[in-house]
């Protein structure tokens, strides 16, 4: 009795996700762009590497080096939220407008089975899509580069995959929240997109503004290093509020074993710069993960909190469909 309701909802939602025109279109577009970019990046890398003895850790460069317009990691960072939003924006309000929500809730299932089942189905779909993309890109890499990834690289890709799933899961939770709060499907889609645009484009401005208010740079002659550092630190802390920043920084470090810090080179003191330039060896995965542990924890936390809010709102709503 206990959870059969949730699994019934989960199963049906999963079937819906994979058979709906919308998801198929989305997946096709993403795979197309991903494949083309992977091929271009792969060929580019191969040309660069001709003549060199095969360096280690080249597989990850598939994801991080820029193709024509963007690297694959940037592409997934940009489109990930879109996947999450497409899967969730009409989750609840569609049931409401088609009058199927009252039918669902008059079956002997716990009320939260509906929201849990939908969220889990969305998360599973995201996981399958992202896994497919990563595997396809790796496959192309194998073909074009002729390099087989080592365990270190596979480990990093696995961490990258898990972090990406959680990140897109945040956007899924957010769009389901919008579908709970707004009656119209178009309204909830627009609300989710508005939030995305805000985090993607305006967060940087907002963070700089906050930094200038809290720790302003002294105008005039003396611009000491202390003030600059403080200003930058406030800015980077405020920008951590944006899940996009959290994700980009975290995956930047995970995918590039040579990057040891999320800060830019300019803002480090001379001693630090020296140590960075001397110790060029790549970091083991554990160390990279430790650097971005706060980012990872925050990502998980915001996803859980977002889903928690969504859950609470759904449970409190009146059912009446007329």
């Amino acid at each position: 009795m206990s959870v059969h309701g949730m699994w019934a909802v989960y199963r049906k939602e999963l079937e819906d996700h994979f058979s709906s025109t919308r998801s198929i279109l989305l997946l096709t577009v993403i795979l197309m762009v991903g494949l083309v970019t992977a091929y271009m990046v792969g060929s580019g890398l191969r040309k660069e590497m001709e003549g060199m003895a095969k360096p280690s850790l080249v597989f990850l460069l598939l994801f991080t080096s820029t193709g024509a317009l963007f690297s694959l990691a940037q592409f997934i960072a940009f489109f990930g939220p879109l996947i999450g939003m497409v899967l969730g924006f009409d989750a609840i309000n569609r049931e409401r407008s088609h009058r199927t929500l009252s039918k669902l809730l008059s079956q002997p299932i716990y009320r939260d089975a509906v929201i849990n089942g939908k969220f889990l189905a969305g998360l599973t779909t995201i996981a399958i899509m992202l896994l497919a993309i990563v595997l396809l890109i790796s496959g192309i890499g194998l073909l074009v580069l002729g390099v087989v990834p080592g365990w270190e690289e596979i480990g990093r890709m696995a961490v990258y995959l898990v972090v990406s799933i959680i990140y897109v899961g945040f956007w899924l939770a957010l769009s389901i929240l919008c579908s709970v709060l707004f009656r119209g499907m178009a309204t909830s889609a627009l609300a989710a997109i508005a939030l995305w645009i805000f985090f993607a484009f305006f967060m940087a401005l907002g963070a700089r503004l906050a930094a200038d208010i809290v720790a302003p740079l002294p105008t005039g002659a003396s611009v000491n290093a202390e003030a600059v550092l403080r200003n930058d630190r406030v800015r980077s802390v405020v920008s951590m509020v944006s899940p996009i920043t959290l994700y980009s920084e975290a995956t930047g470090i995970v995918l590039d074993p040579l990057r040891k810090t999320t800060r830019s080179l300019v803002l480090m003191g001379p001693m630090e710069q020296l140590s960075i330039s001397r110790f060029q060896s790549p970091l083991p995965l554990i160390q990279s993960a430790l650097i971005v542990a706060p980012h990872l924890v925050s990502l998980v936390a915001i996803t859980v909190v977002c889903f928690g809010i969504c859950y609470a709102c759904f449970m409190r709503q009146e059912v009446r469909s007329t």
């Binding site: 009795m1 019934a8 088609h98 009058r99 009252s102 039918k103 669902l104 008059s106 002997p108 059912v319």
Partner: protein, 253 residues
């Protein structure tokens, strides 16, 4: 015998507005109870409270001996519901829709297919079983709704305006179903409607709701005696109802 449905002083308030006021009624097992009233009288709200889909402001209700607010899952397992505008997943076929409801009820996939075909045959939808529900007419949707109710093998069936929008043939079929549910399957039928002649045709007892208050309840004959005088041979429910309605209108004027 324990009543199938009973309420005591059941009340629902939305802010200042009282949708259902102090409702006390009883429905015996296996009987057909017609719940009458104009639009906005509180019929649907009462149904929702009996189903456990809405929480009463005060008062209690019991369906098959269980409280729908405290034990909603038990009640929902025993009760079938046909809402006023029944909703289906338009992109799925009738069979797929029924399968989903069956799974939600924990019915095993084993003999399900055979059972569904039987039910669809009973309601006359076997030929269109594999068509998308989006293409169904209103009559077909109502019939599929009934199939869904029967799928659960319920003890009580709540039907909200089941004949609304149906053509005369569809209406007759629906009324036959209702009678069948009670007489052959011993299911208690609690249905709400404002189409009085139809309610008269099938109900054992009726209850009249006006502005949230239950102004009368009982077999139609008794109500006729009360309202139209003794020895009234030929009466219509409409006449009885309009008496109550006018009384209420003049009382509040």
């Amino acid at each position: 015998m324990e009543p199938a449905i009973e309420t005591h002083a059941l009340t629902k308030r939305y802010g200042r507005q009282v949708a259902v006021n102090n409702l006390t009624l009883e429905v015996k097992p296996g009987e057909i109870f017609g719940f009458l009233g104009p639009n906005g009288a509180g019929k649907t709200t009462t149904l929702l409270m009996l189903l456990g889909l809405s929480e009463p402001t005060s008062g209690t209700a019991r369906v098959c001996g269980h409280d729908p607010t405290r034990e909603p899952l038990l009640v929902k397992r025993l009760v079938g519901y046909l809402p006023e505008n029944v909703g289906f997943y338009e992109d799925m076929t009738a069979v797929q829709n029924l399968t989903y409801v069956a799974r939600l009820n924990g019915i095993r996939d084993g003999g399900l297919r055979h059972r569904m075909e039987e039910l669809l045959d009973q309601v006359g939808l076997l030929a269109e079983a594999r068509k998308r529900v989006g293409a169904y007419s209103r009559g077909m949707r109502q019939r599929l709704g009934i199939a869904e109710v029967l799928l659960k093998d319920p003890k009580v069936a709540f039907l909200d305006e089941p004949t609304l929008g149906l053509d005369p043939d569809g209406t007759q079929k629906m009324l036959d179903f209702i009678t069948d549910l009670s007489r052959r399957k011993q299911i208690t039928v609690f249905f709400s409607s404002h189409l009085l002649d139809q309610v008269q045709r099938v109900s054992d007892r009726v209850g009249i709701m006006l502005k949230g208050n239950l102004v009368a309840a009982g077999p139609i004959q008794e109500l006729a005696k009360q309202k139209l005088g003794v020895d009234q041979e030929r009466y219509t429910l409409e006449e009885i109802y309009m008496r109550y309605f006018r009384e209420d209108a003049t009382a509040t004027a």
